[in-house]
Symmetry: C2
Subunit: 148 residues, 2 copies
């Protein structure tokens, strides 16, 4: 089974131009061409799924490219790729944790407004503090700082 760039773009919920941009950045290795047009095969989807994940955790394109280049070198880079995956796993765990804290804050606010709307005024709740008493500090390194 083969797919056009538009079909793949629709599956990934991105524009075809975005996939062309990724390709130009070296993030789509091994995609075939027929009459100059990109033709995606089933084997390409394995990587597209990983790419999708890397994008979702905000891994910068430059860093994804490092991974791609390691993969292209073959078995000699297995350990390095393993290390990168482990690092990204830790990052996504941290992100999930942060988002769970945000969820708590929004749930508190949901309660807060529910009570305020009942009473017709915020005055009844404005001195009730959220469960989390302090400002959360990032556990995740900023992407822009990753490369330093």
């Amino acid at each position: 089974m083969t797919y056009s760039i538009k079909e793949v773009a629709d599956m990934m919920n991105v524009e075809p131009s975005t996939l062309r941009y990724y390709d130009s950045m070296g993030l789509l290795p091994g995609v075939k061409r027929v009459n100059g047009r990109r033709v995606f095969e089933d084997k390409d989807f394995k990587w597209l799924r990983v790419l999708n994940c890397m994008k979702k955790i905000n891994m910068p394109i430059d860093k994804i490219k490092v991974y791609v280049e390691l993969a292209e070198k073959g078995d000699s880079t297995l350990q390095e790729r393993f290390d990168m995956i482990l690092e990204q796993k830790e990052i996504v765990l941290g992100q999930i944790d942060e988002l769970k804290n945000c969820l708590k804050e929004f749930e508190y606010k949901e309660w807060y407004y529910t009570e305020a709307i009942k009473a017709g005024t915020e005055k009844v709740v404005e001195n009730v503090t959220s469960c989390s008493p302090t400002l959360e500090v990032d556990t995740i390194p900023k992407n822009k700082k990753e490369g330093k």
Copy 2:
């Protein structure tokens, strides 16, 4: 207790210039000045914690500003603010879900490389597919598309 811009910036793990930028965008309402300098008080931290969460779920500054402006109008906007909070809660739930799927992919890759390293080659695993058989489609609207 009061805090300087640097102290607050350190607590939030951002640059003082970022807080000044937020202020210039209207995201820091009610911050006092002494001799022209910003002085943060305990009451400001309530909002800073919410702001922190809004930033972490990638809520665009323009949209955060809408919320701030509603809050400044007082009790007449309680329902609108409640609706915004609910919407953001749904967004963060979707994000957590997406990240959990990414985590699965990275855990699969961790296993994949563990086996490959043991064997000295990827060949032993390269035909083993991850648990998630399809490309995930975004459940979360892109921030850039939110405003349309």
